[in-house]
């Protein structure tokens, strides 16, 4: 008698979305699970939508929310645009905002919640500033208004250094000490799989182009609620960086997540969900 196969099919479905971004055709990979209020999730610099695997697999969340995550162009299973081999990739504030708004329109999302981490945690501040009426709520994970580079970013993209090895090793310490081993290393694998120069290109937005410190006080949380959740061990966006936002933005709600680092949804999914559920329960 044969041994029965132990297998489980997740309720997560992936599709490809063809659309123009910045006037150029793109093919984006989009995953989703659940039904209800759209919850669009934005991955960190140099990674991809797999970071949200636990949110997509949480029945308590997908009963109420349609959880959606896309791989940004150049990331995960999304392709770079034609001609990628002729120039250096850089992410800009305007390009990032346009990408999010275009994806929301392309998927006909009605006032979605947007939850972004790191660069995604920064861009939700831009959305709060300029498009509050388009969103039901904004959730910033590891949000800071600015980040100073603390190492020479050129190391992340040079032909004589293995990009996958150095990107994974560079972010390894950003994972908090309480992360389960399997999720700690899954998180690093995503970084090890990034294309050449992509992590560095994203950090152009994070460290140079995306500084919103001067504009924070214009955020009006009565028009769109803003939740900020930050891991205690993150040294890229520290708890103090997040608290600094809340000092300028009246009504911003801050939660510091104990023992966690820069990739809460991916490095310690169960602990993260315990912080996320109370936030989501306030949104309808």
């Amino acid at each position: 008698m044969s041994v029965p196969i132990r297998a489980r099919v997740e309720p997560v479905v992936g599709r490809y979305l063809n659309l123009d971004l910045g006037g150029r055709p793109h093919r984006l990979y989009v995953e989703e699970a659940g039904e209800g209020i759209p919850l669009l999730c934005l991955h960190t610099a140099g990674s991809d939508s797999r970071q949200y695997r636990a949110v997509m697999n949480d029945a308590g969340i997908t009963d109420k929310f349609r959880v959606i995550a896309f791989d940004m162009p150049w990331h995960g299973k999304s392709s770079p645009p034609a001609g990628w081999h002729t120039y250096e990739y850089t992410l800009t504030s305007q390009g990032y905002i346009d990408m999010i708004l275009t994806v929301c329109d392309a998927l006909s999302l009605d006032r979605p919640v947007v939850m972004g981490c790191s660069i995604g945690g920064r861009i939700v501040l831009n959305l709060a500033l300029d498009y509050p009426e388009r969103f039901r709520a904004l959730i910033g994970l590891q949000s800071g208004a600015h980040a100073e580079p603390y190492y020479d970013l050129q190391w992340l993209h040079r032909p004589d250094v293995h990009g996958g090895e150095i990107c994974a090793a560079m972010i390894s310490g950003l994972i908090g000490p309480s992360a389960p081993q399997i999720d700690r290393w899954e998180t690093q694998w995503h970084y090890a799989q990034g294309g050449p120069g992509v992590f560095r290109g994203d950090l152009y937005f994070y460290t140079v182009d995306g500084d919103v410190r001067d504009r924070l006080s214009a955020i009006d949380t009565r028009r769109c609620p803003l939740y900020l959740l930050t891991g205690e061990y993150d040294y890229s966006c520290t708890p103090d960086d997040t608290r600094a936002i809340a000092q300028s933005v009246e009504g911003a709600r801050v939660t510091i997540m104990k023992g966690m680092g820069h990739f809460p949804m991916s490095e310690d999914p169960e602990a993260f969900l315990s912080y996320l559920r109370p936030v989501l329960s306030e949104i309808d």
């Binding site: 190492y151 250094v161 293995h162 994974a168 994972i175 000490p177 061990y233 708890p239």
Partner: protein
């Protein structure tokens, strides 16, 4: 962690075949400074060949990692607080200085994080 542990680095590291495999292209002398104490760590083919304790006269090294003994002690404690839990975190907050040629350190960043993590009470994550 104490000076004896640093001098035990060969036995702490060399038995790990996966660590030494990942370091198989490394051929460096690492100057590790713990406050005033100097340790010259010779690494070849991924293994720790020798650890010499200073003081030295005209030492020759590839790169140096320097921090106060208090900061290293916190870094090597079983549950370091935020900012002390990783070499790059220590660099960011200017507790650790990387001097000399950063190339072997950066190209083998995981190796060196793991190697120095061997000195942590209870091991590295």
């Amino acid at each position: 962690m104490n000076q004896l542990s640093i001098e035990r680095l060969p036995e702490l590291a060399n038995g790990d075949a996966w660590l030494t495999h990942r370091g198989r292209f490394i051929d460096v002398s690492l100057m590790l400074e713990v406050g005033e104490e100097q340790y010259l760590i010779r690494i070849r083919d991924g293994g720790v060949e020798s650890v010499e304790r200073g003081p030295f006269v005209m030492p020759r090294w590839t790169f140096a990692l320097r921090a106060s003994s208090e900061d290293w002690k916190t870094f090597w404690s079983a549950t370091p607080p935020p900012g002390y839990h990783d070499l790059i975190a220590m660099l960011k907050f200017k507790r650790l200085r990387l001097e000399g040629d950063p190339y072997p350190f950066m190209t083998h960043l995981r190796y060196f994080k793991d190697l120095l993590g061997r000195l942590r009470e209870g091991g590295a994550p």
